[in-house]
């Protein structure tokens, strides 16, 4: 460690002060002179033809500025919302990519699809006016489930896609996998559902747009995880605003989890309205509106089979998945259940043959896209449930079967049969530590004791691997990405030696203002409080792809490290001149440039001053000033991995699950700030445990209504369902970035659903239960327990 605020130090967060004193600046807090307020009128039907909209009564109300519809959008030549990823199916054909109008036109395709925007002088008035807008619908039959959507004769979400199939995608070697199954001694099978989730960051989405006619400048404030991408997609593809006239600001953002990493129709509509009406327009989503308009997560139906030999060695894995896209393609939608899912199915195992096919399906539901983990929790859940089932079927110990198939640490770099080359890892090291921390061996005694209290006790284990650090642009391009996935950072060193960093990632809770300052502090030997991290404003920060896919540290941090290295390199040249030494003789350490073998040195601050007051300076060969910029494109994904263990008790009489303990041992590469890492793990595990125990988005099959459409019906995890978690890192360095970092934002969410559900199933295994779909709600478990007891009594 270079100094007490450098890499590895658990320093307290620099950004806390404004949040704990109520001085954060979120989009909803922004007020502009002359601001108007907008409310979206949304479809109450899941599938309907739009026959007409009569806004005359609303428009007659004093204070109502405008009612805008899809017709108006069309008349103004506004484009549809683009999808950022185009995948290719089995047949080599591009996915079906239907139009995604920013306000519905002709038809609505899910409950919550926007049909009009009402702008008024106050929010209350806009709401009242929205109620007065009369929309005539011809209600059509809706389709909610994917199995139904694929049936012949099912209602077509898009007329020209009669089978509702967006893409039939595959990965892996089908023939080799079939051969593995043909030679297998055992085949373990599972059918499972990965339930749909609503991401629900605590801050609802919001957008404010300002148009300055005199300069032609447009500014959008948005609750976005990637303001530069919104600027590019919206400016270029939707509204036709030149890039140099458009500014997107994502100020303090109250949580993202993927939900805010898409270019949303509302951003474009609000910006369009502000330009068209020439007034600032503000829209703040209500929570129940968010349930119907924020992209949702997961929603898979899968069948999977694992082929094993008689010793429990995995020979082949075959997976067939249906993945729900909802009513439109969201920005990354088609990428999530394909490229971020299939290639993760090897897990930490040496399975030699894997084949996975995914049917990507349209339904009359809210669009589905990335939600924390995005594809990788689904892969982990499927694989790790299947491994437990195989163990039970073969009568093998759950730990032994995993050990038997684990990639040994010595085998890295490891090429899987599904595209990925893992650069580093130590799965069995993680497993050993997790088993010890969770006192796995002592579990039988705890189970026996719980039984005396009328409770079923279970312990569950899951390993996982994550591919993150999105992404090497060349590989991503091959997989269908329509953008680069590098990151950029500028290090602006002031004449005084204070530093401003301008970075293209976006922080919405991850603590970047601290973590990134620690990297600079470590390298430059200056305290973190002399370093300011700036992000979230396209007029300040050169460019960037934003924050998602656990990329900020491994991609953004690497760009930052590169820029700091350039600063040091230039500093050495200045120092060589000032110290009258050869550049190779200059070393930089602890914030000082010195001539090796002498006591001659200059402090970092002195070099900075010389760069800006270049009286004695090699001006012939070196520019004055000290500011460096880098764009970093990773050469590979990073591969965090680990082993998690959970212990639960289930009340036999009520089916209530008590999550008693959770141990996470994670290999996340170099740790910059262990306190922040633990926080990321806590939050990630809580979200995964939430899926396992309580959260689920339920649509009514007939009407397509979202039944769990508010916090009254959608069970968010609360403090009293979670235990104190034990978080331990067991890291191997990433081998392809200088910092050795892998990322930690999603690992908790990736490992935890499988871990918790394996514990739940283990608890109920004495009753003969082999699988439970998420969430393990009391109601569901009570029924399972009751049925199993009746069956046992009947025997």
């Amino acid at each position: 460690m270079g100094n007490i605020t450098g890499i590895g130090a658990a320093i307290l967060r620099k950004e806390d002060q404004r949040f704990i004193t109520g001085r954060g600046n979120y989009v909803a807090d922004v007020k502009l002179p002359g601001m108007t307020y907008a409310v979206f009128l949304r479809s109450p039907h899941a599938h309907a033809r739009l026959l007409g909209i009569d806004a005359s009564a609303a428009l007659a109300m004093p204070g109502v500025v405008a009612v805008l519809t899809g017709e108006d959008l069309k008349a103004d030549g506004v484009g549809g919302i683009p999808c950022g990823w185009g995948i290719t199916g089995k047949d080599g054909l591009a996915m079906k990519e239907p139009p995604h109008p920013a306000i519905a036109h002709g038809k609505v395709r899910h409950v919550g699809d926007a049909v009009a925007l009402v702008v008024a002088e106050s929010v209350d008035l806009a709401r009242i006016a929205a109620d007065a807008v009369v929309v005539e619908y011809e209600v059509l039959p809706a389709v909610v489930g994917m199995v139904d959507a694929l049936k012949p004769g099912a209602p077509a979400v898009f007329e020209d896609i009669p089978d509702n199939l967006c893409c039939d995608w595959e990965i892996g070697d089908r023939a080799a996998t079939d051969a593995a199954f043909a030679s297998a001694a055992h085949v373990a099978k599972i059918n499972l559902v990965n339930n749909r989730l609503v991401g629900n960051p605590m801050e609802p989405r919001a957008a404010i747009a300002l148009y300055e006619r005199s300069t032609g400048h447009t500014t959008l404030w948005s609750t976005s995880q990637f303001p530069h991408v919104v600027k590019l997609l919206m400016g270029n593809f939707v509204l036709g605003i030149p890039q140099h006239k458009l500014r997107v600001i994502a100020p303090d953002v109250g949580g993202g989890f993927g939900v805010k990493q898409f270019h949303y129709a509302e951003e474009a509509v609000i910006t369009w309205a502000a330009r068209r009406l020439d007034v600032p327009v503000k829209w703040v989503s209500e929570r129940s509106e968010g349930f119907l308009s924020d992209a949702q997560g997961r929603d898979h139906v899968s069948e999977a089979e694992l082929a094993l030999d008689e010793t429990g060695k995995f020979l082949g894995l075959r997976v067939s998945t249906l993945a729900n896209m909802g009513g439109y393609l969201s920005t990354f939608g088609p990428n999530i259940p394909t490229n971020l899912y299939g290639p993760l199915l090897a897990g930490v195992y040496t399975t030699p043959a894997i084949y996975c096919e995914v049917k990507v399906v349209f339904t009359n539901t809210v669009p589905v896209d990335a939600y924390r983990g995005a594809g990788r929790p689904e892969a982990t859940f499927l694989l790790e449930r299947l491994v437990d089932i195989a163990a039970a079927q073969l009568g093998m110990d759950r730990v032994a079967i995993r050990r038997r198939n684990m990639i040994p640490a010595s085998a890295y770099p490891y090429q899987t049969p599904v595209m990925m080359e893992y650069d580093s890892g130590d799965p069995s090291g993680c497993l050993d530590r997790a088993l010890a921390l969770a006192d796995w061996d002592g579990f039988p005694a705890r189970r026996a004791e719980a039984a005396t209290r009328g409770r079923y006790r279970g312990i569950g284990l899951s390993t996982y691997v994550e591919a993150c650090g999105l992404a090497p642009s060349r590989i991503a391009g091959r997989l269908g990405a329509r953008g680069g996935l590098y990151e950029s950072a500028t290090v602006r060193v002031h004449a005084t030696g204070d530093v401003t960093v301008l970075i293209g990632t976006h922080c919405h809770g991850q603590g970047h203002e601290t973590t990134f300052a620690q990297i600079v502090s470590d390298k430059l030997g200056i305290p973190a409080d002399k370093i300011e991290i700036v992000f979230g404003d396209t007029d300040k920060v050169q460019f960037g792809m934003g924050t998602y896919g656990s990329r900020s540290l491994s991609v953004g941090g690497s760009a930052l490290a590169k820029s700091v290295d350039k600063v040091i390199l230039k500093g050495r040249k200045i120092a060589a001149h000032l110290l009258e030494a050869g550049e190779p003789d200059i070393v930089f350490e602890d914030g000082k440039f010195s001539v090796t073998g002498t006591d001659r040195s200059l402090k970092f601050e002195e070099i900075c001053l010389a760069a800006y007051i270049p009286h004695n300076y090699p001006l012939e060969v070196l520019e004055p000033g000290l500011e460096e910029q880098s764009f970093y494109d990773p050469v590979n994904f990073t591969f965090p991995g680990g082993a998690h263990i959970a212990e639960v008790e289930i009340e036999a009489d009520t089916g209530t699950v008590h999550l008693l303990s959770y141990v996470a041992v994670d290999d996340i590469g170099t740790v910059i700030n262990p306190m922040i890492v633990a926080g990321q793990l806590h939050g990630g595990i809580a979200q995964g445990a939430g899926q396992a125990l309580c959260e689920t988005a339920v649509y009514d099959e007939g009407s397509g209504q979202l039944l769990s459409g508010s916090f009254m019906d959608y069970a968010m995890p609360r403090a009293d369902i979670l235990p104190n978690m034990k978080i331990v890192t067991h890291s191997t360095r990433c081998t392809h970035n200088d910092l050795g970092v892998k990322g930690c934002g999603e690992v908790g969410t990736i490992g935890s659903p499988a871990t918790v559900m394996n514990a739940v199933v283990d608890a109920l295994s004495p009753l003969g239960v082999t699988h439970v779909d998420m969430p393990a709600s009391p109601n569901k478990l009570w029924r399972i327990i009751k049925a199993a007891r009746l069956a046992q009594a009947a025997e």
């Binding site: 307290l12 909803a28 605590m202 801050e203 949580g255 633990a678 508010s710 916090f711 403090a719």
Partner: protein
């Protein structure tokens, strides 16, 4: 309707519609945007403030119901013991990494202070139970619970010093 109340120690007289919520009075009229709105069903707790010293979800209370009341929001709790000093509960959230995105934080801290006022030596389970009305999507609650335990202890330590 003419409304007179004290907000963060300052006397305020405003003319408000009778259906205005307290949270809107604070955020929209008085510019106190530290109090947040995270839901429309009174469940998230992002909007918690104190009315006459007791925690209240300001999205569930009409502004006019605060006639003559003492209202304290997150902006009004620091400052005791020196202009820039933090309230012990704010300090505890900082020291225990009890916040990430910060959106739930003002409500959490206001709720936690009320909790501390009612409990001298609370257990972890009591804190977790108290937080039934406060949601956080970022932290998994672990460090919030730690912060509230530490903040409660610090508040009572400060109180006993003041008493002595």
């Amino acid at each position: 309707m003419e409304l007179k109340l004290t907000v963060n120690g300052r006397k305020v007289a405003v003319d408000v519609p009778t259906d205005m919520l307290l949270v809107d009075l604070l955020r929209e009229r008085l510019g106190l945007t530290g109090t947040h709105v995270g839901c429309d069903t009174s469940q998230c707790g992002a909007c918690v403030v104190h009315v006459d010293g007791v925690s209240v979800k300001s999205c569930t209370m009409l502004a006019v119901a605060a006639q003559d009341a003492q209202v304290t929001s997150i902006e009004g709790i620091s400052g005791a013991g020196g202009r820039n000093s933090l309230h012990p509960m704010q300090q505890a959230f900082h020291e225990n990494h009890g916040l990430q995105c910060g959106f739930c934080t003002p409500g959490m801290i206001m709720s936690a202070i009320d909790f501390a006022n009612r409990h001298t030596e609370p257990t972890e389970a009591q804190v977790r139970h108290w937080l039934e009305g406060n949601m956080c999507r970022c932290t998994g609650y672990q460090n919030i619970v730690a912060a509230i335990l530490a903040g409660t202890a610090a508040m009572h330590a400060t109180a006993s010093v003041e008493a002595a």
